[in-house]
Amino acid sequence: MKQFESEVPSSLPASRLRSVRYRMWGVVAVLFALWAVAPGFASRSVIDMLVFSGLYTIAGLGVAFLLGQCGIVSLAQSVFYGIGAYSTAYCTTHYGWPAPAGFAIGVAISAAIALAVGWPVLRLSGYFLALATLALAIIGQVLFTEWDWLTGGTLGIGGIPHLNLFGFVLNSPQRFYYLVWPVAALLLLLHRNLLRSRTGFAMRAMRDAPAAAAVLGVDNHLLKVKVFVLSAVLGALAGSLFAHYVSFVSVDSFGVDRAINFLLLAVLGGAKTVLGTVLGALFITIMPRLLSRFGDIHAVLFAGCLIAAVIFLPEGFGGALGRMAQRLRARQART
């Protein structure tokens, strides 16, 4: 993905640049067409996987942004994912409120907690910060289990209504698919905007040399807190969508393993590119199911895939794609 303007060699003639752009748009059009028709021919389980990929893209985008653009390792996303899910589950089943109210409450609570926790915690750095966010994930998991008056404990909350968009009930994976991916695409677009904005420059500056960024007037701590809150909002949004998709939430979905999954998708996808989040989400959703055909050994095989991906693609799938695109452009510039 073209992350920075500088990735297009300045020596590329205008006509060739146009041709490269046309081809790029051609690829995008083909991918879009495939996406649009997929529910027509793919099985229900495949569409279900793609819906989960979309949900994980949304939640993972926040983690990837923190990691790739701010250099912050966050393992707390499962907490915000859980808050989003439980908020809408509780509001819609206990009070009968409409889903948007549940979404708003989940987002608001997550943002408030991210602000309250992030303000002191984001003064830490490196693995101290990672451990602090891990502690938050563990606390969240314990509270989701123990506060059974609110979360239903291990029994969870069932009967969460399906989303209803202007009378169109999203009660199947095929229907939900057409909601979750446009939402994910919109959020990816917004984050791409952010990456290219003044704030995006400040984030990347802070990641590479925090002292130098401060000298340029960047309030590193405040910026980290803002991005952490933004990340939490994405987590909550994904959690709320998840709750309405599966109609049942329990603590099993919001444990530390989920937090690790979100971090994993950011690392595998390539946290420095926005598109990498999608690739990472597809990988962590589809690969385990593909490998499950091999029986008990599937977990070992998945671990092997992870190790191979990290060794051979240290910049993640998105980084590798970006490098490939750069090479192609450079080759075209030469010919």
Binding site: S197, D208, V215
Partner: protein, 251 residues
């Protein structure tokens, strides 16, 4: 001439070791002021106190007549006090242009929400940052490397990038920490010319260095030794000072 920066009786200790002891000096607006001293004299500590990376145990830092001793680094930067680092601190994964664009951060104001939505204001800010960066690249001779990653450049060019970035941030006082460190003699000569040109255009420069060639461009020099200012004045006066010759020049 009015003092742009005044350091008044600043002291600082680390684990009981007194690194600065009642240090006082002033930087007049429009000048190039040198701060020299042997290794371990306390130059870096003093520089960190002036730029806000360290707080003094005692004493004041006055900038444009205001006490900034407790102000954060970004707050000082916003008021025009900008520094560079002994080891160039470029944003390694950004290109040269992007590094310098980041220098215009405080000249622009669009926030996170505007950035997310890609509002016209956010786009105008980027256009402005880009124009300023391109002008700076032209001025500092970086046009040929404008699209290269700053982290891949040799040390001399990284220092130029850092200087150009500081310049686009429109400082009133530019504090340079050992700017000639790692440069060859040609690069030092070019740096001296650049600094003199910036100074002629009205930029006040505080130069911390142990490079005696570089400080020849300073209109006034303060000599720091074992945490105390032992001499102040023009270069000829400093060179003639017996304490300086003994403590710094080893003569």
């Amino acid at each position: 001439m009015a003092a742009l920066l005044e350091v008044k009786q600043v002291s600082r200790s680390f684990s009981g070791l007194r690194v600065l002891n009642n240090v006082s000096f002033a930087v007049e607006a429009g000048g190039i002021i040198g701060l020299i001293g042997p290794n371990g004299a306390g130059k870096s500590t003093l520089f960190n106190i002036v730029s806000g990376f360290l707080a003094p145990d005692a004493g004041l830092v006055l900038y444009q007549g205001h006490d900034v001793s407790r102000l954060s680094v970004p707050a000082r930067s916003r008021s025009g006090l900008v520094r560079t680092f002994q080891t160039p601190q470029v944003f390694a994964n950004l290109t040269v242009r992007e590094n310098i664009m980041a220098g215009s951060y405080k000249q622009t104001a669009s926030g996170l929400t505007a950035g997310l939505l890609g509002t016209p204001r956010a786009r105008a800010d980027i256009a402005r940052m880009r124009a300023a960066a391109d002008a700076a690249c032209e001025r500092f001779g970086l046009t040929r490397v404008v699209d290269q990653l700053a982290g891949k450049l040799p040390g001399g060019q990284q220092r130029l990038v850092e200087l150009a970035r500081a310049w686009v941030s429109e400082p009133a006082l530019l504090c340079l920490d050992e700017p000639s460190s790692g440069l060859n003699s040609k690069e030092v000569a070019r740096l001296m010319q650049t600094l003199q040109r910036l100074n002629r255009e009205g930029l006040t420069i505080l130069l911390v260095s142990h490079d005696m060639d570089l400080v020849t461009i300073a209109s006034s020099i303060h000599v720091l030794c074992f945490g105390e200012i032992i001499a102040s004045g023009a270069l000829t006066q400093i060179q003639a000072d017996a304490r300086v010759r003994e403590a710094y020049l080893g003569l």
